[in-house]
């Protein structure tokens, strides 16, 4: 079992973030523990009632069993985007201390960011 940290940023294209989420699903299915930190515009992925948010909600629900998935959003960024109180159940508001704790504890770190 590996511990994987997945960092989602707002600078990534929609395709990159979608790929990252699918990768998280695959890793969960293989029994790895996944910690997702979403900041900047990526905090909007898990907000509202759109298709992406519903998919993330289902993914988070799947990860509840065995405590295999943590999904944390940067609370300040979510507040700036107006999505702080619209996050799907299971998504936890946090800050960049959570990001670096995930990175520090991970065996593998993946990011969807960069231009």
């Amino acid at each position: 079992m590996k511990r994987v940290a997945l960092v989602l940023t707002g600078s990534a294209s929609a395709e990159r973030n979608a790929t990252a989420c699918k990768l998280a699903e695959r890793m969960l299915a293989r029994g790895h523990r996944v910690a997702v930190f979403a900041h900047r515009d990526a905090t909007a992925l898990s907000a509202g009632d759109g298709e992406v948010a519903r998919a993330i909600r289902a993914l988070v629900r799947r990860g509840v069993h065995g405590g295999a998935l943590d999904w944390v959003v940067d609370a300040d960024a979510a507040a700036r985007l107006g999505v702080a109180d619209r996050q799907v159940p299971g998504v936890v508001p946090g800050d960049h201390a959570d990001l670096w704790a995930f990175v520090r504890e991970a065996d593998i770190v993946l990011g969807s960011g960069g231009r």
């Binding site: 940290a5 960092v7 940023t9 600078s11 900041h39 900047r40 960024a77 800050d95 960049h96 201390a97 990001l99 670096w100 704790a101 990175v103 520090r104 504890e105 991970a106 065996d107 593998i108 770190v109 990011g111 960011g113 960069g114 231009r115």
Partner: protein, 125 residues
Amino acid sequence: MARRVVSLVRGPLAAPGAADPAVEANAWAIAEDVHLTLVLTDHGVELAVAGGEVQPSELAGVALPPAATGQDLRGLIESGVGVYVDAAALVQRGVAGDALVEGVQRVDADELAALLRRADAVLAW
């Protein structure tokens, strides 16, 4: 565990703000027992230009936040974070090497590759 992390910062935000989000986010690493190296590349080299602070001002009567990224970078350097700037990107943007924030080091492609090879994890911002 990922202990040695290289953060590649590829661009500053276009809108003025109190702090560049990428630089600010990386500052949190200091308290988390992560050996962090910050590399500014592409448009991110603009963050390393000395004297690039945004002074307090206002627009249509509304105060705009000042920005002192140079100060933020100096804070990271004083905290033990290595801050490097991609020399080739500096040249591409016409930034003179002596115009950088004190303590920021220039790296060429080989040195950058070595930094990345030594890292346990690389994050792109």
